[in-house]
């Protein structure tokens, strides 16, 4: 299947936004609001909006988008509802932070953890189709979730760092960023393992395409080096760095994760051949 760039962009931005929400929620749950939490929430909202707009470029008739509620069993319908709920929670949280409604913000922080963890899973599960063996596994939404946590945690940590977070908060943010990068790495590798084990094996979706075939450069450089190794190393180094270096490390980790996520999704589309490609 050719790369569906609007959907790819949507999933990456949606994941980043969700990860940032979870980051904010974890801080609220600890009882210590993250530095620049308003800005982080606002950034998450903007990313979600931009991703949503990007996704409409995939549609032949975006003006009929309201019809999307016509089949609530469809993954796309669930995704739309998920995006709406997430946007509302994010906006409400940002308002509460801005208006200094501490208890409401804390409550919404818990909601943020839930919607931030659920939305990437909904988005990923909408691609689980029996016709595409490499997609038809829970490892795909898991990969979406892990990637989102990595992207969101590193970007939120970078924003907090840039906005003058204290040393203790920076140390915790670096740990979160490392956990996010590790989640992205592990879930990416689990999905790649699924590609190797998926039913209806075929050369077009074989693990050899990734390991030593036409996708090898994209896989080893993009998905592994940039998406797995570099973010983990950079976030590990950020744990004991001063503010300036930590900002550089977590920002670098975010950029690497971004490149890795795009590479992994390009691979995801490339190996998404159907069980019998007869006419198209």
């Amino acid at each position: 299947m050719s790369v569906q760039w609007p959907l790819l962009l949507f999933s990456v931005l949606l994941g980043t936004s969700s990860g940032m929400l979870v980051y904010l929620g974890i801080h609220e749950a600890r009882g210590r609001r993250a530095t620049a939490s308003f800005m982080i929430a606002l950034t998450a909202l903007v990313l979600l909006g931009v991703g949503g707009i990007a996704s409409t470029f995939h549609l032949g008739h975006p003006e009929r988008a309201l019809h999307i509620m016509g089949n609530m069993g469809s993954g796309l319908s669930r995704e739309l509802i998920g995006v709406g709920v997430t946007a509302v929670v994010t906006l409400a949280y940002a308002v509460c932070v801005r208006m200094s409604y501490a208890s409401a913000a804390k409550g919404l922080g818990f909601c943020a953890i839930v919607v931030g963890a659920v939305l990437p899973v909904i988005a990923g599960s909408s691609f689980m189709m029996a016709a595409r063996p490499t997609w038809d596994s829970a490892t795909l939404p898991l990969m979406y979730l892990g990637g989102g946590l990595g992207l969101g945690f590193t970007l939120a940590a970078a924003i907090a760092c840039a906005k003058g977070a204290e040393a203790a908060e920076r140390a915790f943010a670096a740990k979160l960023a490392l956990a996010g990068a590790a989640a992205a790495a592990v879930t990416a590798l689990i999905w790649v393992a699924w590609v190797a084990l998926a039913p209806y094996p075929d050369a077009s979706r074989s693990i050899m395409r990734l390991a030593a075939g036409d996708l090898a450069a994209l896989f080893w450089i993009g998905a592994v080096a940039l998406g797995v190794v570099a973010p983990c190393v950079l976030c590990w180094m950020a744990r004991r760095a001063d503010a300036k270096r930590m900002l550089a490390y977590v920002s670098g980790a975010f950029v690497c994760l971004l490149a890795g996520s795009v590479a992994l999704r390009v691979i995801m589309y490339a190996v998404a051949t159907s069980v019998q490609q007869l006419i198209y």
Binding site: L59, G60, H67, A131, Y200, A272, S274
Partner: protein, 192 residues
Amino acid sequence: MTRNIMAIDLDSCIGCHSCAVVCKQENNVGLGTFYNKVLTIGPTGTYPDLEMYYLPVACQHCDNPQCVDVCPTGASYQREDGIVLVDHSKCIGCQYCVMACPYGVRTYDESRDKGVIEKCTLCAHLVDAGEVPACVRHCPGQARFFGDLDDPDSDVSKLVTAKANHKLTDVGNHPGVVFCMDNCTWIGDEQA
């Protein structure tokens, strides 16, 4: 209950592509778009024991159509008689049905009715008028049959009973089209 299906006698198919041509005429299918295509399977085996057959493919009008399940708008739907159709007035062109179809027989049409999904309709307009799909009527090899599988006297039932039955790969969608063939080895999939 009526269960209209297509049954194709592959032993009688001569690979003339008439079905593909008449389908385009009947349904005004645009350039580069196909509801129906004839594939050549083989030759397989070792000389002199070679085999080859023709496989006409189109929407299988599955019993459990995945394209209908994933369609967010209800544009892809299945009629009571089993025919799977696309309501172009509801289609938003999200292409999830294209992804969910195991056979690559749906396409996103940018040429004629821009931005919607096109596929075989089993000539529902002719079926509703009491006729058979154009590909059935015009098949010179009389390889195609359409009718009620639940009626034991229908041509479809007689063919399905008389020959070995094959279907395309079933990933839970339960394809409806039955391929009947005794003279060659069916390649790729389980017996129906």
